[in-house]
């Protein structure tokens, strides 16, 4: 596998369950060593996509190549070259830390000469030194998840699929988990990680936003913030708020206006009013307004707008 070839490539990837289309013609290319965040509401198709890429589900249409192997025709090769953490915790709770590691080392054929070092690495990575003989079910969430990651990378796979690895884990442990992800990425491991925590999206090189089976947006967090909003976001303090909102919604060039506290956030598209015109425009309609301040959109703003926009355009069946 050369660096030029993507580590993960999906083309028109589709999965139907009966008449329900869980994933709809998804195209995605992930470069070697990239951390891509998979974001979307529950039921958007994140897990289904990841399972197809792990050769756990057979695509209904389209194709996917992972680590150079086709997920349909070379499923076993794919499995040998990936690490996978499913959404549900999937280590053996009635086995100890050391026993779980030994089991997965056996399953993945980790060479005996390397096993000792990798076991130590996994244990220190998970912060479980001295607790090797604890039953896994007695561990708290963060330790469990880090150990699961340690087991999933015992065979040093070039590609990692992590399905909501931090859900239900306390914030401190979540941050530690992301540090581990970046340590692995620094060693050129390619990682696709799904999450529903917006702040975690910021840790990714690129974000793939998926909604109702479709890839809605793809780009780095700053790219998404800049482009996907489709305009400039400004905030202005004004009174009375209700009249301001009503006036702005009908104003030329205003894509969206919403009240945030004592201010109004206005999304300006090109070709209409400029930010500087807003106080005058409002004054003419009996609303007092301060100077409009440009503000940075949060990723949440972007996602809400993208998903809400899609919902308006094509209501869910």
């Amino acid at each position: 596998m050369t660096d030029a070839a993507p580590a993960v490539l999906a083309e028109g990837l589709t999965k139907k369950f009966g008449t329900f289309t869980a994933v709809d013609h998804l195209d995605l290319a992930i470069a070697v060593g990239e951390v891509v965040g998979f974001i979307g509401p529950n039921g958007a198709g994140k897990s289904t996509t990841i399972r197809m890429l792990c050769a756990l589900l057979r695509p209904s249409a389209g194709r996917a190549v992972v680590a150079g192997f086709d997920v349909v025709h070379a499923a076993e090769q794919v499995r040998a070259h990936i690490g996978y953490m499913s959404q549900k915790f999937s280590l053996y709770g009635d086995l100890t830390v050391a026993e779980n590691l030994r089991f997965f080392a056996g399953i993945y054929h980790v060479p005996h000469a390397l096993y000792d070092e990798r076991r130590r690495f996994a244990i220190s990575m998970a912060g479980l030194e001295g607790r090797e003989n604890a039953l896994v079910r007695t561990l708290a969430g963060g330790w469990k998840q880090r150990l699961a990651l340690g087991c999933a990378i015992l065979h040093r796979p070039p590609v990692l699929f992590l399905d909501e690895p931090t859900s239900g884990v306390e914030p401190q442990a979540r941050r530690q988990f992301w540090e581990l992800i970046h340590r692995l990425a620094a060693e050129r491991v390619t990682i696709l990680v799904s999450t529903h925590y917006m702040e975690e999206a910021e840790y990714c090189n690129r974000i793939a936003l998926i909604d109702r089976g479709r890839l809605v947006a793809l780009g780095s967090p700053s790219e998404l913030r800049r482009h996907e909003l489709g305009g400039t976001l400004v905030a202005l303090a004004c009174a009375p708020l209700g009249a301001a909102l009503a006036a702005l919604r009908d104003a030329p060039g205003v894509a969206e206006a919403a009240i945030f506290g004592d201010r109004v956030h206005v999304l300006l598209s090109t070709g209409g009013l400029a930010a500087a015109d807003l106080p005058g425009f409002l004054a003419a309609r009996g609303v007092h307004a301060d100077v409009a301040q440009p503000i940075a959109a949060s990723l949440e703003d972007v996602f809400v707008r993208l998903v809400a926009g899609r919902a308006r355009a094509e209501p869910a069946p």
Binding site: R51, F89, D94, F103, F104, G106, I107, Y108
Partner: protein, 378 residues
């Protein structure tokens, strides 16, 4: 195929079984309990059949008849009655299942015509018991007749002529005491192993699907055959221990004579355990919930095994279509094998038919199970 992966799986499975002492205890003690219950509960021998007597004559001759019934050991006289109505009441209350009625002129008729009329009434609600009891009664009456005959000839100073008398000397082989226990207990061992074995493995795959660990396992390069081998290995050990318990109980507790070779017994038992574990595993692979798998395992093993394995109901006497169906009931092969090894001391050569039946079964079921295991979630 990777031996390392198989061993990793087997070791993991063994640890899980070991860490679940309740299930382990059930797996090891259940067969012993069933052995005791079925071993004592199922018997085709009938002893001490409760019998009433309505002796209208109460003579020396009539009392001699009653004594013969008691002395046989097959009957117990529960009441001496004095009217036909009392007989019918006793039968209604089921305080006896048969009544011997001796008419008031028993001795007189015997003396004048040479034939003593004797009536036996049976409650035939349980036809099986009644048939056996009637057989016993005929045996007793034959003895009574022989007694009378001997007394009659002796009284007249005539030596028995021997003319026209065929003397049958029955010689019973393999189960000389005609103990139905000897015939049934080996069958019971087969039935218990069939039921317990399928239960043992019916949960093993379903449990991993339910707990979510299977999704992790199938995302690795492990092969269906490796999963099967790794999972069957620990349960094979438990199955062998169970079998040893049952067989030792059959020999030393129930006293069934063991005339075969330990090697034949070991080999055929191991083969049978593979078959029953593979059946349970196949069910576990197909039914991905523990409750469902356990119920399916019970359903597909319990009825065919108890009804069509021939352990109590003889296959030879079933209608042809059912007999044909019983060929699919794998425990029947092991019932045949165990009986032959225990009572006849048969070896592998004599048992080639049922042994091949089990081998074929093992191969087909293992193949189906390995094929049924899907490494995909859809």
């Amino acid at each position: 195929m990777s031996l390392r992966r198989i061993l990793a799986l087997a070791f993991k499975e063994m640890l899980q079984v070991w860490r679940d002492p309740r299930s382990l205890a059930i797996a090891l003690l259940m067969p012993l309990m069933q052995m005791v219950m079925l071993g004592y509960g199922v018997s085709l021998d009938i002893r001490h059949v409760p019998l009433c007597v309505f002796d209208q004559e109460n003579s020396q001759a009539s009392r001699a008849v009653v004594e013969r019934f008691v002395a046989s050991g097959w009957f117990a006289i529960t009441a001496a009655l004095d009217s036909n109505r009392a007989v019918s009441r006793a039968m209604d209350r089921a305080s006896c299942i048969g009544a011997v009625v001796i008419p008031a002129d028993f001795s007189r008729q015997l003396a004048s015509t040479g034939t003593g009329p004797l009536q036996i009434v049976f409650d035939a609600t349980d036809t099986n018991t009644t048939n056996i009891a009637m057989g016993y009664a005929q045996g007793v009456v034959a003895l009574v007749t022989a007694d009378l005959d001997a007394r009659w000839t002796a009284a007249r100073g005539i030596r028995p002529s021997g003319v026209g008398v065929v003397d049958l000397e029955p010689e019973v082989w393999f189960n000389e005491g005609l103990e139905s226990r000897y015939f049934i207990i080996p069958g019971v061992v087969a039935v218990i192993l069939a039921l317990v074995g399928a239960q043992l493995t019916s949960l093993t795959v379903a449990r991993e699907w339910e707990r979510g660990t299977m999704e992790q396992l199938v995302s690795t390069p492990v092969t269906p055959f490796e999963v099967m081998a790794g999972k069957l290995l620990p349960y094979f050990l438990i199955g062998v221990i169970d079998a040893a318990f049952c067989l030792l109980a059959a020999i030393y507790w129930f006293g069934v004579p063991f005339r075969g070779s330990a090697g034949t017994l070991l080999l055929t038992t191991a083969l049978f355990i593979v078959v029953v574990l593979a059946i349970g595993y196949l069910i576990s692979v197909r039914v991905r919930s523990q409750l469902g798998a356990s119920q399916v395992a019970l359903l597909v093993t319990m009825l065919p095994t108890t009804l069509l394995s021939g352990y109590t109901f003889p296959i030879d006497q079933m209608p042809a279509p059912i007999r044909f169906l019983s060929l699919l009931v794998y425990p029947r092969y092991f019932v045949t094998i165990l009986r032959a090894v225990f009572l006849k001391g048969s070896g592998l050569v004599e048992l080639i038919g049922p042994v091949l039946g089990l081998v074929l079964y093992a191969v087909v079921v293992l193949w189906l199970a390995a094929r049924a295991f899907r490494k995909r979630l859809d």
